[in-house]
Symmetry: C2
Subunit: 278 residues, 2 copies
């Protein structure tokens, strides 16, 4: 699969900008999955199968698997998505960042072991820490730019002097990725829905570059403002992520075996709320 081609096809053919984030927290699983050794896989698989026709991509968060020694379930999950829903790209949310020789190992982890179609990467260590991912031209490389969390401002919102003039650090990252790191056309950026003005600024600086936008749902970002700020001329360009609000909708409602149907309903409503503003 070529990540960018698959993403664009998914935006159009599935009529969705929704990314379902897979952050499996066993403490929130429904009762019938509690205690099963494959609970993480079974929970995520049910969510995936119930929402696959509503999304443009899935985004498993590796930390939730790693904290529970469940890398094998992450492998099985991505294999399942590729086998059953082959049109849908998978972004491994890993936010890796290290020197080139180590980044090569992380690229092997993401693309060859887990067989993800894209990865999120931290830009703090600069160009040679990103090159090993860029060396896979079919894979997506999605750099952190303006993150959705409160501390995102601590560094990213500082004013910096750059060869392009004075700008905020996140703007410098956006320009650097768009103008220097994207030679293979396989880069994207993470910009939080909690900061629509900055989504607009990143859109202005990067043309049609795909933006992964976390922060709607549990984090409180606004869908209308996100679309107004970030959609491209053809009404796409965004992967709008929701994790907890979808995953645990059913668990919070009744804790029963219908959790996936409840998740589907929230995913459907979210997709439609997004589409209402395209």
């Amino acid at each position: 699969m070529h990540f960018m081609t698959a993403l664009k096809a998914a935006w159009q053919q599935r009529n969705s900008l929704l990314c379902v984030g897979l952050d499996p927290d066993p403490a929130k699983f429904p009762a019938h999955l509690q205690g099963r050794t494959d609970a993480i896989f079974e929970f995520c698989k049910a969510i995936v199968d119930a929402t696959a026709d509503l999304v443009c991509c899935f985004k498993p968060q590796i930390a939730y698997f790693a904290a529970r020694r469940a890398e094998d379930q992450l492998e099985a999950l991505i294999e399942h998505i590729h086998a059953k829903h082959p049109a849908i790209p998978v972004i491994l949310d890993a936010k890796r960042g290290d020197i080139g020789s180590t980044a090569e190992q992380y690229a092997i982890e993401a693309f060859e072991r887990f067989k993800a179609d894209a990865i999120t990467v931290n830009p703090y260590m600069g160009r040679d820490s990103v090159d090993p991912y860029l060396a896979y031209p079919d894979k997506g490389v999605i750099l952190l730019c303006r993150t959705s969390n409160p501390g995102g401002s601590d560094l990213q919102f500082l004013e910096v002097e750059t060869p392009r003039g004075r700008m905020k650090l996140y703007e410098h990252v956006a320009c650097t990725v768009a103008e220097e790191w994207n030679a293979s056309g396989n880069c994207g950026l993470v910009v939080g829905a909690t900061f629509p003005a900055e989504i607009a600024r990143v859109r202005e600086l990067t043309g049609d570059m795909p933006l992964l936008v976390p922060g709607i749902g549990a984090q409180g970002g606004d869908i209308a403002a996100t679309l107004a700020a970030g959609r491209t001329a053809n009404g796409a360009g965004l992967m709008i992520n929701s994790s907890r609000a979808i995953l645990y909708a059913g668990v919070e409602a009744n804790g029963g075996e219908e959790f996936a149907e409840a998740a589907r309903k929230v995913a459907l409503d979210t997709r439609d709320a997004i589409n209402a503003h395209r």
Copy 2:
């Protein structure tokens, strides 16, 4: 183990500022380990046992384990270090960085699953992305500041406007960690040996904060300049990392079963070269 207490004791009692980085690359293993399913563990264990009296800490790089589906061997390795060399702290080099709820999972991965005594963390996402690690006051939290790689300058060397005035981004990170994030006294910083002037600046800004210094050996950093720039008044304050130059010394020499003895010799020479400048 309390990381900072153990580190200071190791500096003094073992008379060493050397950190041996465990970056196991099976392609470079000696012939008798090739093809064994536990080769990564056995290679690292032999290095650890051959160098334990010469180091102040060990630093396994998780990417090398994750790329080869060898998390179980990393667990076994850290368990071995704690069991056989209980005075030596283990830094998990993971450079994680994510929003708070995800960082909680990474903290569980590092401190509860792998039982590391410290972790390296990326500061790009700000305070709330670091808090979950700081919440373990016995553990060390070592923030990337001025990394040793060429691209380290892309962001870290930019001039930024901060509440403390105009400075380089890495200086802002150093000040922020020293003045705001280090309330429990469990923070350290990564500053590359390839930039001794910046080591001196970070030392000036952070008092006696421990600095993890990669970049000697394969990356070409200078030991004398590193010590002159970064040692504290009592001749400590540094964890000077060497990985490849030590790990593969014997493999490159003869490829035989004496690889650990060859690694020990380089570790001994490196420790003594460091001590000559304390």
